[in-house]
Amino acid sequence: MRERSLAIRSFTDLANPTRFVALAGRLLPWLASLTVLLFAIGLTLCFTTAADYQQGETVRIMYIHVPAAWLAMMGYTVMAASALGTLVWRHPLADVAAKCAAPIGAGFTALALVTGSLWGKPMWGTWWVWDARLTSFFILFLMYLGLIALNRAMDDAGRAAKVAAVLILVGFVNIPIIKFSVDWWNTLHQPASVLRLGGSAIDPEFRRPLLVMALAFTCLFFTLHLAAMRTEIWRRRIAAMRRQAARGAASA
């Protein structure tokens, strides 16, 4: 950020993959250091704040669980925005962004599910309950996995991106319906009130580490996403060069 050339003059500048790779290369060390720093502060805060009088030490799981859950949802939102970019503006980086966000989003979703489970065992006495929130998250996880499977199954990157974008957007439209239906289903089968996590106001004592951790996780997400996008662009270039080499050999 010392160099003026880093400034993005317009949106189209970012669209150029070469420029993007250069920019990502400069940004990544800074972003990564910031992530480490935030995690250092956040984790220190997590372990130095007092334990909750009801939840005991297990409240510390929340500092990881809640940001992971937020980021899992943000990951899908990033994917949906990229999908829109692919379909509407045919932005060359949008399909790379969507493809790379899927595994990261799936990772955060898995983290949220696992930490939720770990928290649930001492608090609820069971690893898993079919609570509305857990269930919707589980379905979100399945959607992430389906998209990853689709991306892996297609060899032509451009076509895969457009097709996946359709699915991402339909999934995005469907998320409120799924949430609504799961809430309905849950109230029908069991009372939901007992297992509500939120509701009560969070004490400032707990809010500070939570916010720092949320920031740290967000930085982590963007670091990983940027690195994954850069790798994906390189991978596509190598694939293009290989194809060119094959054709050169064939015509010689």
Binding site: I139, A149, L150, A153, G158, V166, V173, I177, I178, W185
Partner: protein
Amino acid sequence: MMALYLRDLKLATRAGGGALTGILFFLAVVAVVPFGLGPDLKLLARVGPAMLWIGALLASLLGLDRLFQAEREDGALDVMLMQETPLVLVVFVKCLAHWTASGLPLVLISPLLGLFLNMEPAAILATMLTLLAGTPAITLIGAMGAAVAVALPRGGLLVSILVLPLVVPVLIFGVSAAYAAVEDPAPFLPPFLILIAISLFFAVIGPAAAAVALRASSE
């Protein structure tokens, strides 16, 4: 468009068509349930609507992957993409034909399977009604999955993986409406109307999304 509808119906019912396979699969799934749960008639009556719904869901997903793949393999999809008729309409008509050939028979045979599961007449009727309202939604959502996976040689399993999370709401409202008809306090109408709303919603979204995906994968 009538020509397309009739052609797809003919194809589904001729040798090699998927209509009969779907019904047999439905039969097999429901027939296996008592072996898993035990022959307790009370228990079977209680899980009956849910089993019929899950069986119908799996059976309607069965032949969906071929919906566009067969057209693509013999080149017919290319010709359809070039016509004056909007692709959305073509997709919708194909869905309609697919549902008539493989969804409707499931609805019609469900009362018979309901008897096997010792369900009350009211429960049988309610399940049949909810299946009638809900299976079109499964076909329409599935058409989108089929269009997305059209270019894949082994798309069949992938279609199910992609579509299942999206049909969860259909299953939830279908089953709750079916149960509401039997269990007293719960009202039948609200979930049933929501189910119809979902079907109508996907009658719009499904073909549109499938058309975009088909165009993208012809390139």
